[in-house]
Amino acid sequence: MDHFARLGLPAALDLDAAALDRAYFSLQRQWHPDRFVSKPPEDRARASAEAASVNEAYRTLKDPLSRAFYMAGLAGVDLPGDGKTIDDPDLLMEAMEAREALHDAATPEAVDRLAAQAREDVQEALAGLGSLFLANDRAALRKALLRLRYLDKFAEEARARRMNLDRSNA
């Protein structure tokens, strides 16, 4: 059973967050181990396994980026594992320039601007995924998703840099 089916939701890129929460809470009400404290061990084990599957489905689908990767996997897009080197020259160039800009950003405001830009790029790229899924263009999907993964990492790095700047200014 895929994660969408487990939660009883349509396999959609633009999942309704409130509907996802509702489905998740309702299944956890049914399966959470707290409901099985005084039940026999085999029932407890079953509940624990079910609750874990529901948790995994929820965690995967909750974040739009991880949801997109999961859907790409279902669509047969071949994605390299996390942390592998970038094999797209355009992306490589973009990444190098952005890293340099982050390295040079000396004030919290400058870092914030870069982080905001990265978040905007993520939103834009996510919005563009829908048509690629529709067209089932695997090569383009792969390229777009790898860029998304990079942008997400960059936002994370910007955050770390911001924390360091805050600390040294404190």
């Binding site: 707290d34 874990a52 929820y58 955050r159």
Partner: protein, 631 residues
């Protein structure tokens, strides 16, 4: 004692009679512990005779034998400081490799465990004792208090742990409960329990944060509360940061001032403990005053010290700033900003420090919530969860893993399998392969922590998956599965999948107790078994007597008219004697007084029985009776 009881149908005078043992909530704190019970969704902390809910988490092992816990143990510090242990929670699940984290913090002789994954022990009262054993004494004292207050047996509990407690410390806490004879229904994270107390009591909804600065640990958690669901979004903290650090900062200043004034102290355990006691007092005074002073006496030489709020603030500022930094990181983890928070719940005695309140208010832009006593709020939440787990409440508590779990891969790099803030229970797996032709075995090293290198994370367990059939490098598919249960405890298993020969090894991370340690400890607790047993029998006798008295009172209220004035006076006198015996410590006296009362009230019970039968028969014709007899 059994009094004959006659009840109206559906009207049982003792709603709890015949019910099993009760489940309590326990906050096993670094500095203080609290036990609480919830009934019908209303939690209450259990107090001692003097009305105090807090039990200092202090254990004393007097030379003369026996064990003291709480205020008595703390008071004993003056007599045999070497035989008194405080803040033992800091050592729960800690191994030799962690000693740097607590070095200089605890004025005890610490013995590292023998292996990498052995817990440290303390040499105290002439013997090496593990943190589990010492914590179990605190749990036993809490259990005794609960049984005395509730007059019922207490065998099950929800125990709280800092969200940031790692697997080893959680396992150690469970072990301590077992030694204390308590079945742990669930380990609940302290901030989650605090939110439970607020959410259920106050009906709060929205995004809430819990800022928990205890004696030895700091936790910051973000939760979403809605319609009975408590969803932890993210959590973070530091297991070596707390109010004890504030005390230590003051104590160091006191000792330095003595040195400056030319007092040649030998700074031994006694000196440190005296300085810490005054430091704690001064810290508490500064919560609502701008300055304080006190007298410190070491080896017969007194000295006088003053401290202002401003000086104290300067001393603890760095620690408080660190808590704010951790809080901001947790917010960032959840993708939230501080202004989205509806309210911050303060937990832990150290949140009474004005600087802490000011910094928290500054961070979220509104004053923190303090309407539930920060010392009791965690235990109250645990009690609510204990009631929900035993009574089937509708509350749903969805918690997360506080720390990432992973495996060591080539070059000492950590491959994270379960990232932090993953909802639990969780089951996640990852496939690995061999790196040499014909490799027959694979070493599996389980670690916990956020750092990239194994050396910077905590080692939880090592095992070897052997019997891998000969294959070329990279052909084997070894699936390593991590399962984290609802208590946050981890089980790891591994199997080779290509050959169909399922090799399976299950590992429970160590740092808990070996079976031998556990056996030793249970054996040791047998030494105290007689005392425990006597206490239990005494409690049972009181419970039985109370039950009899309630039944008698109900009968007297209804049918008191069946007794003559002399009979009534005799019963009342016997009743008073029983109540006096119940106040005492003698089980035999209670039983004797109960029996005397029972004998005296026997004719009364018989008369009530007769009357009950007459009433049942009244209004029936002979024909009715005959037809009934004929049935």
């Amino acid at each position: 004692m059994t009094l004959l009881e006659i009840h109206e149908p559906g009207e049982t005078p003792l709603p709890h009679a015949g019910e099993g043992s009760l489940a309590v909530g326990i906050d096993l704190g670094t500095t203080n512990s609290v036990v609480a019970i919830a009934r019908d969704g209303k939690p209450a902390a259990l107090h001692d005779e003097t009305g105090r809910a807090l039990v200092p988490s202090v254990v004393a092992y007097p030379e003369a034998g026996g064990v003291l816990v709480g205020d008595e143990a703390r008071a004993f510090t003056a007599r045999e400081p070497r035989n008194v242990v405080a803040s033992i929670k800091r050592l729960m699940g800690r191994g030799a490799g962690d000693l740097h984290a607590v070095a200089g913090v605890l004025p005890y002789e610490v013995e590292p465990g023998t292996g990498e994954t052995d817990m440290v022990k303390l040499r105290i009262g002439g013997r090496a004792r593990s943190p589990v054993e010492i914590s179990a004494e605190i749990l036993k004292a809490l259990r005794t208090r609960a049984e005395a207050a509730l007059e019922k047996l207490v065998e099950r509990a929800v125990i709280t742990v800092p969200a940031y407690f790692d697997d080893a410390a959680r396992t150690a806490t469970r072990d301590a409960a077992r030694v204390a004879g308590l079945e742990v229904l669930r380990l609940v994270n302290e901030p989650t329990a605090a939110a439970l107390a607020y959410g259920l009591d106050k009906g709060s909804e929205g995004l809430y944060a819990v800022y928990d600065l205890g004696g030895g640990t700091f936790d910051f958690s973000l939760l979403r509360l809605e319609k009975g669901v408590f969803q932890v979004l993210a959590t973070g903290g530091d297991t070596a940061l707390g109010g004890d650090d504030f005390d230590r900062a003051i104590a160091e200043r006191l000792l330095a001032e003595r040195k400056r004034d030319g007092l040649a102290d030998e700074v031994d355990e006694t000196a440190v403990k005296s300085a810490l006691a005054l430091a704690r007092h001064m810290k508490e005074q500064l919560s609502d005053r701008d300055q304080t002073s006190g007298r410190l006496e070491i080896a017969g030489t007194p000295s006088f010290h003053a401290l202002t709020r401003a000086e104290f603030d300067a001393m603890v500022e760095a620690s408080v700033a660190r808590t704010v930094e951790i809080s901001r990181n947790v917010l960032a983890d959840a993708g939230m900003v501080a202004t989205e928070i509806e309210g911050v719940v303060l937990v832990g005695g150290s949140t009474r420090v004005p600087l802490v309140r000011a910094k928290v208010a500054g961070m979220i832009g509104k004053p923190p919530l303090t309407d539930i006593d920060p010392d009791e709020v965690v235990a109250l939440g645990a009690a609510l969860q204990a009631e929900a787990l035993t009574g089937g409440g509708d509350t749903l508590l969805l918690d997360v893993t506080p720390l990432s779990l992973g495996l060591e891969t080539m070059g000492g790099i950590v491959e994270k399998i379960v990232p932090r803030n993953t909802p639990i229970p969780a089951q996640l797996a990852q496939d690995f392969t061999t790196y040499e032709d014909g490799q027959g075995a694979m070493a599996i090293h389980v670690v916990q922590g956020e750092r990239e290198m194994v050396a910077d994370c905590r080692s939880l367990a090592r095992f070897e998956l052997s019997g891998i059939p000969p294959m070329t490098a990279g052909a084997a598919r070894i699936r390593v599965s991590f399962a984290v249960d609802a208590d946050g405890l981890l089980t790891v298993s591994a199997e080779e999948r290509t050959t169909g020969v399922a090799q399976r090894v299950e590992v429970k991370p160590s740092y808990g107790l070996s079976h031998e340690d556990m056996a030793d400890m249970l054996y040791d607790s047998m030494d105290n078994a007689e005392a425990d047993m006597n206490l239990r029998l005494l409690t049972e006798a009181r419970v039985e007597a109370r039950r009899g008295l309630l039944a008698l009172d109900a009968a007297l209220a209804k049918d008191g008219g069946l007794l003559s004035a002399e009979e009534r006076a005799a019963i009342d006198a016997a009743r008073t004697r029983l109540e006096a015996a119940m106040e005492g410590e003698s089980r035999d006296e209670i039983n004797a007084a109960a029996e005397a009362l029972e004998t005296l009230s026997k004719p009364f019970a018989e008369r009530r029985m007769d009357r009950g039968i007459r009433e049942a028969l009244s209004g029936m014709s002979m024909g009715d009776l005959e037809s009934r007899v004929g049935d």
